[in-house]
Amino acid sequence: MKVFTLRFRQFIVVALLLTVIFRYVLNLSIGEESLSMVILCAFIYFCMMFICGWYFGKKDATENGFYDIGFRYHAATYVICVGISYVAYYVGLNTESLWPMTITALSWGIGLLVHLILFLIEQRKTIKGYAKDEIFD
């Protein structure tokens, strides 16, 4: 399976951009001690990321037809979100404290691990990333 398809690369770029913007706005909101702003920007960020994944994932599936049960997109989202939150913390931006950040990373990581196991199981039904029953559709 070609992992870094055009749509997947586009998703990574947009997700990176959204996450950096989110972290910047979050930094300002925490600085101003505005809980409503924190909740609002987190909600908007969640919605934007969801739409972004949905849009590029759907395009990717239509154009390439790889059967990966969304694992690539999930893994990329995890790396971007968790990675940038730690970067934001260590460069001194206002973020959540380290402990909740780590708890989130670990619990989400367990979810990602379960997704990985399901992905590996499903890969048995594929040839080079294509679902066997869809290759000659």
């Binding site: 239509t62 040839i127 080079k128 294509y130």
Partner: protein, 116 residues
């Protein structure tokens, strides 16, 4: 009633048939997408028709699976055109598919039943 049933049967029957016709087109010679489409529609007497978009999608998939490959050729106007051909694995796959699923219809006993 028979027409309706025939249409329903044909709709199911034709699913998955496109690959056969595409491979047949490429077995004859390497072709670009427009030529494949023309071959499929002409050779099947119009029974099979296909969208260029779906041909591109399938050919890209077959290419990733090393069944099909292409050569780029210059054309006088516009971008280079891709001429698709069956790889050795594609030829082997098609040969074995035909042997197991198509040649059976050339058996005399079955042929006699078909034209009876």
């Amino acid at each position: 009633m028979v027409d309706e049933l025939l249409n329903a049967w044909e709709e199911t029957y034709k699913k998955g048939q496109l690959t056969f016709w595409v491979f047949l087109a490429l077995k004859e010679s390497s072709k670009c997408v427009e030529e494949i489409k023309e071959f499929v529609e002409k050779t099947s007497d119009g029974a099979m028709c296909c969208e260029e978009q779906s041909l591109y999608r399938n050919l890209r998939k077959f290419q990733h699976l090393d069944i099909v490959s292409y050569d780029s050729k210059r054309v006088s106007k516009g971008p280079d055109r891709k001429y698709y051909y069956l790889t050795d694995m594609g030829k082997e796959l098609f040969r074995r598919f035909v042997e197991r699923n198509i040649m059976i219809f050339t058996k005399e006993s079955i042929n006699n039943l078909l034209i009876k």
